[in-house]
Amino acid sequence: MNNFERFAGLVVAAVFAATALGPARASSDPSPAPPAKAAAAAPGKPSTSTADHGKFKVLQQGFKSGPEVTKACLTCHTEAAHQVQGTQHWNWEFMNPKTNQRLGKKHVINNFCTAIPSNYEFCTACHVGYGWKDENFDFTAQENVDCLVCHDTTGTYRKLPGWAGHPVYQDTEFPPKSGKMVKAVNLADVAQKVGKTGRNNCGACHFYGGGGDAVKHGDIDSSLREPARYLDVHMAKDGLNFTCGDCHKTTGHAVSGSRYNPTAVDTAKHIRGKEDGNAAACQACHGHAPHKEKTRLNVHAEKIACQTCHVPEFARGGKPTKMLWDWSTAGKLKDGKPFKTKDSGGHDAYDSRKGDFKYETNVIPEYIWFNGQVDYTLRETKLDPTQVVHINKFNGSPDDGRSKIWPIKLFKGKQPYDVGSNQLIVFHTYGQDDSALWSNFNWDKAIEFGMKEIGAQYSGKYAFVETDMAWPITHMVAPKEDALACKQCHTAPGRLDKVPGIYMPGRSGNELLDMAGWSIAGLTLLGVLGHGAGRIVASRRSKGHQGGHP
């Protein structure tokens, strides 16, 4: 690669950043995988790597596709693909050791976009692989692993929904019919500039989970690219400037931390490195008694997750998170055409493709006892349509000795279920056919197609059931001066009002005792005032008598 090519590559990257970045992010259509901003290759910070990938001959070729790049990577990094293929990022599958439930995106039906079967090409824009367009995807082919999505440092590598995990190899209009162009990726340039995974790599998918910025988690969104200290004490540029991986310590491509099997109560005696545990848990760095001055708080920490006080709200970065998604209203048309309405904040309140939404910022979490065991309502689970269906039930109690009080985002929804079998439904949202809900707005077709795709029986009758889904709040940790103050819980009504099984001065009290106590004090006061008044009157009378006044 000569200097001209390198320069040209940079120009392409810059033009891409200038054109695609701005408008795409401002677009009202949330796209799951927008471009990552160049960050890892920050100017003025020389790389400490012992390898300059720009000098490797194998990377100096005119790559036509992602898999070609991967093959080149594997000539040196011989074990990398195998490692990735053992992870959740690749398999989208997780066996929960506590419940023996088979989870992961491949299996779970959530209450956002619900499920991936029959919608692979769209969803797998966030798969660390190439070509997962249907259930026949080859999970063993090493060249299907996408190295670049996690190791790109240029910010020009972008995977779009609909391309089954491939980046765009030709200039492409996206979103379709929007008039906006996404430039073809320069694979050689990206490959020659690979580096350590930065927050923009993780963020390209995780900031946009659920179909748009901040939609899903509430505590992970694009405001974490350059957060102020107030927003994230660990990731602030002028503070610790952590990457995601500094906490989510990764070994052989396996990333620590799990939402399917969370560490609700970290009992490991470790400070990181000394004993195995969840490296991403707060305690892995902070230990179990981190409050040096106010040691009373260490006792609080025996029952209360760090996050409860130190993540005082979620969606704190100015990006509203979705709190409600009601699929039951999807499909309405105006003059035969789909439409959208906006809320006062300019976010979608209704979308013909998806139904009704509610967004919120600076949300006070719900607080629950949580012991780390999560029970999912899966495809095969029978549900009770008269009750709110818990997509994932967080278990815990004040008395089980292994729970702590955790903050969660409780995401509410309404989604279709099979009236015949009382089971959640997989339906077809996206595709270039006449059955996809997002093209034809016909629930019957979308459901029939989806259920056929997974080989499931379908009674032919559907209805909508209320659901909720819990998301542990753990990111966007505030600096200590912005953590909860005592008074926010030690008062009535306070933050932990709905949390049972704890006595909290200032919140709880024995009402009978209070009534009796104040009555006794009040009566005493009345008694002495009366007695005093009597004395005053008596002394006046006797003085009057002695003084001979009439």
Binding site: A485, C486, K487, Y503, G506, G509, I520, T524, G527, S539
Partner: protein, 199 residues
């Protein structure tokens, strides 16, 4: 004709007034912690309440030592002698300018009602609030010491609050009864100067 006698010694007066200040302060902060009102903020109320409690503990170490070395503890030995006279006096005599039925002297500073009340406070209500207060203060250590097996914060708080209400009622009555000397301020003066006018 009245004469002046020296009833309350220097330490005793210091003890009384500093204790009075601490108890009233702890009533104010304590009921804020309890959630009855907002004044200085929960956190400051807890901190200052705890600080005042330890100060009172320190004061009490001296007071107990003083009571036993001076023999003053005998002032609190209960007696029912003249107790009906006292009750009658407060109920009737005080309104008819009857003479006080009890004459104090340095060996018998407290009238029988006072003796009983103070003994009750010192022997029952006091310990109740001390013990529950200490449980509160050491709540941090319950788990480490294995106390959480038989202690519940809810009941500790219940008895601590109960004792606080009794103290509150005591303080109200006590302050009022200081006005029942031969002049309204006579008892307070005595507790400040140590000298009491007696007939």
């Amino acid at each position: 004709m009245s004469q002046r006698i020296y009833i309350f010694k220097g330490f005793e007066r210091f003890w009384h007034w500093s204790q009075a200040f601490l108890i009233i302060f702890m009533l104010i902060t304590g009921f804020e912690v309890h959630g009855s009102y907002s004044l200085m903020g929960f956190e400051r109320a807890v901190d200052t309440h705890t600080f005042a409690a330890w100060t009172l503990v320190g004061l009490w170490c001296f007071a107990i030592f003083w009571h036993f070395t001076t023999g003053e503890w005998k002032q609190y030995i209960p007696t029912f002698d003249k107790i009906t006279d006292m009750v009658k006096f407060y109920a009737i005599g005080i309104f008819t300018q009857a003479p006080h039925p009890y004459k104090v002297n340095p060996n018998r500073k407290h009238n029988p009602l006072q003796r009983l009340t103070y003994l009750g406070i010192l022997a029952f209500v006091g310990p109740l609030i001390w013990v529950t207060g200490w449980f509160y203060i050491f709540h941090d250590q319950w788990h480490a010491w294995g106390w959480d097996a038989f202690l519940s914060l809810e009941w500790v708080a219940f008895f601590h609050t109960l004792a606080a209400f009794i103290f509150l009622a005591f303080v109200i009555a006590h302050v009022y009864l200081t006005t029942t000397g031969h002049t309204p301020l006579a008892h307070i003066k005595a507790m400040i100067t140590g000298w009491e006018d007696v007939d």
